[in-house]
Amino acid sequence: MKKNGIHPALFRPLDLLPMLTVLLLALALLLLPFLLGGGKTLAVVTASGTVTYPLSADRSFTLCENGYTLTVVIADGAARVVETNCPEAICRRTGAISRVGESILCSRAGVLLRVEGEGGYDAVAG
């Protein structure tokens, strides 16, 4: 129907172009941090100093502090202690850490493993 020489339509096939573009753009922006690994790093804090490793690259390494040996594995964007000669092995039992702010602590060895990066929550109040 014609009004003022204008023929408005509710929906035309070309409408899908802006709508899908907006949808895909939104999804891409949401997934981007996950695709890029998030830029998160693992900070290994010991008496000798702090070493940082990116969480996006898989690796394993051993730490020897205070007579205790810890084997740390970084895989799939998370870090965990797989092996230790400490009888309590709290560090191993903590499991994997991947979110910014999470940490694994071995007080006997004096070793702290902490995930650093952007974002992360200290608390969320709804």
Binding site: R12, L14, D15, L17
Partner: protein, 171 residues
Amino acid sequence: MPLPVNRRPVRRLTYSSVLLALALLLSYVESLVPLPLALPGVKLGLPNVAIMLACLHVGRAAGAAVSFLRVLLVALLFGSAASFLFAFFGALLAYTVLWLLGRSPRLGRVGLSVACAAAHGVGQILAGVLLYGIAVVFYLPFLLLAALPFGAICGALLYACERLLPPLRLL
């Protein structure tokens, strides 16, 4: 058959004024609707129906005036300098898209409205980045996702108004 030339300016002024008043009212009405998404800046966008009517049926300049004045008045009456900045950039980008795409016969009202709603979101993020830094970009995907349903609703409302209102005979 459009109105004789000498009567158009008055009619444009009259309709622009009414649509501006409607836009202000709708700004208030939509603030009463509690949206589950507690995201700042996510709104139904009801005033945009009036603004789009102004742009498409009164004139693009008139629509721009209605859009800008609505932002100004809402900020003066209910808002703050910060809310003005957000609204201004949102409206600026949204109206640019409306100006460029509004006359296209190949776009339906839903598509047009969604495009404008998305542009509005981008504008708000831009204002946010200016005020608070790049971290604000985190909200962009959510604003874009909200633009889809709410833009569609506004587009549908616009279409309904266009069908129900008598011809303005201005264009």
